[in-house]
């Protein structure tokens, strides 16, 4: 049994870059995920989420940069890393002719730390039929099998790539239940990418917003929501805003109405804006994660 570091970030990406011919899928991405936390990676389609995850799993070689997981370089020691990581991809490609029990037996023979009890518990929880072939499993059941295989070897890190995409609401809930059970029981570190902002709010401590391969935001979720506010103000006739606070995600002027989403909201922000732009009516609106995300993306699109 190899010694694992007891401190230090579980995931450490430094300057990770991936170029596919002309497209820059991931652009100089750096982030750290500390032990015991849950990191939610969100971004529009094509932002580079799956590419990033594939690189940190050692399944795609980066153009530049480094990926360390559990203190080990993913490309130098792929097998050792994978012993300690449970991975749930978006589409599960278990050999379709395998039966559920064969898939379990196959994986079991690969991992040193396979836990039969965990496996049996998950099998019961998900009510998977051991004799059913993978090709006959519904999407929801396949996702659950994938989670079972990822979790049954007691990994230190769970990596999920859009794990609940395309699942019906009940399957979603059951899958989520499975994920939560394992976190409650084992306290793993987790990184997951998703479109569903609901999942991020439920599960993540920290959120990272990826856009066109760049990590635009990397903050604790509570801080992000507390610090991002939309300000609605009425501009004096014929004026456009003179002062736009630093850390602005997005802004829009329509007639006399000025909407600006600020990323570093503090008690000084409103007085500052009001003063420098000579505004009368100023209103502060709280935002949910979905609004934050949309405003950020809109702002990026407008800027490019």
């Amino acid at each position: 049994m190899s010694a694992k570091p007891s401190h230090g970030p579980v995931i450490e990406l430094k300057g990770l870059t991936k170029r596919f011919r002309r497209t820059l899928a991931v652009d100089d991405l750096s982030l750290q995920v500390p032990r015991g936390s849950t990191f939610g990676l969100i971004g529009p389609n094509g932002a580079g989420k799956t590419t990033t995850i594939k690189m940190l799993m050692g399944m795609l070689s980066p153009t530049a940069g480094r990926a360390r997981v559990l203190g080990m370089d993913v490309f130098a020691e792929p097998v050792r890393v994978k012993q300690r990581v449970g991975y749930v991809p978006e589409t599960h490609h278990v050999h379709r002719w395998m039966r559920v029990r064969e898939a379990i037996g196959f994986c079991r023979s690969m991992y040193e730390s396979w836990n039969d009890e965990t496996c049996r518990a998950m099998l019961d929880l998900f009510a998977l039929d051991p004799d059913k072939r993978v090709k006959h499993l519904s999407k929801g059941m396949l996702a659950k099998l994938s989670l079972l295989l990822a979790v049954s070897h007691d990994p230190d890190l769970l990596v999920l790539d859009e794990p609940m995409a395309g699942l019906d609401p009940l399957a979603r809930e059951e899958f989520l239940d499975g994920v939560l059970r394992t976190i409650c029981d084992r306290g793993q570190t987790m990184l997951f990418s998703t479109h569903t902002l609901d999942d991020v709010q439920r599960l993540a401590d920290t959120v990272g917003i990826l856009y066109e391969g760049r990590l635009l935001v990397h903050r604790n979720i509570e801080e992000l929501l507390a610090g991002t506010k939309r300000i609605q103000a009425t501009l004096p006739d014929g004026c456009s805003p003179k002062f736009i606070p630093p850390g602005t995600f997005w802004q829009r002027v329509r007639g006399r109405q000025w909407l600006v989403t600020v990323g570093d909201f503090s008690p000084d922000t409103v007085p500052q804006i009001r003063e420098k732009n000579s505004l009368d009516h100023v209103e502060v609106i709280d935002l949910g994660l979905e609004d934050v995300f949309k405003d950020l993306v809109k702002g990026q699109r407008a800027a490019s």
Partner: protein
């Protein structure tokens, strides 16, 4: 490891079954012809070649068809798991590429061993059945036929293996592997013509060089395919 080999076998099961049929079929035909003639047309008995020659022919046919099996196996080895993307499943398990590959090689080697050994033993038995000096010429040629079939098969397999490693299509890999021996022969024929044009009679050594050329090409292709697979990061 046993699970890995089981997986390889199961993944290629169709090829293995086809291979088994192709291995046995010529023998079945050789025996059946005798029975059918005896049952339905005993007057044609004398026109049939003796059963030893029939068995000889069956052995060579079986050997030749067996190379087809090997070629299919080679072409499907790596690309077959890319086509249904199950290679990605293996990619996130703690499996080194070397382990994955050794299971594939083990299966191919075992299959080749069965095909070659079975037919080799049959030929040996036939050979032993004749008194000294009474060996028919056909049997004498059988060994060189056996050798050239085996060599062709090796080339077929290795080239299919190389392409399987590079590409995602088992079908293309098998096809390219299949035509490679023909290309080699064509090249040698052309070489011979070229030499004849210049007044050199290289017939003997040009055609004997088929063996080393095939073996070298086979070894190089197999090595290249293996090396590429081990080095490649993407599943």
């Amino acid at each position: 490891m046993s699970w890995l080999i089981w997986k390889e076998y199961r993944h290629n099961r169709l090829i293995m079954i086809v291979g088994l049929v192709l291995l046995v079929f010529p023998y079945v035909v050789a025996v059946a012809i005798g029975w059918i003639t005896a049952l339905f047309a005993p007057e044609l008995r004398g026109e049939l070649p003796p059963w030893t020659l029939r068995m000889l022919g069956a052995a060579l046919y079986s050997m030749a068809l067996g190379q087809l099996t090997l070629g299919l196996l080679g072409g499907n080895a790596i690309a077959g798991e890319r086509v249904d993307r199950s290679a990605e499943f293996l990619a996130y398990l703690p499996l080194s590429k070397a382990r994955i590959l050794s299971a594939k090689i083990a299966l191919a080697a075992a299959t080749a061993a069965v095909i070659w050994l079975l037919n080799f033993v049959v030929l040996l038995a036939l050979y032993a059945g004749f008194e000294e000096g009474a060996t028919p010429r056909a049997l004498g040629n059988a060994w060189s036929n056996f050798a050239s079939i085996a060599t062709t098969g090796l080339l077929f397999f290795s080239v299919a293996w190389l392409l399987s490693s590079l590409l995602e299509s088992p079908a293309v890999s098998v096809c390219v592997g299949l035509i490679t021996p023909f290309l080699v022969v064509t090249a040698l024929v052309l070489l011979n013509l070229l030499l004849a044009y210049h007044g050199v009679d290289g017939r003997r050594w040009v055609f004997v060089s088929y063996y080393p050329v095939c073996l070298v090409l086979a070894a190089a292709s197999f090595a290249a395919g293996t090396w590429y697979f081990l080095r490649r990061v993407e599943p």
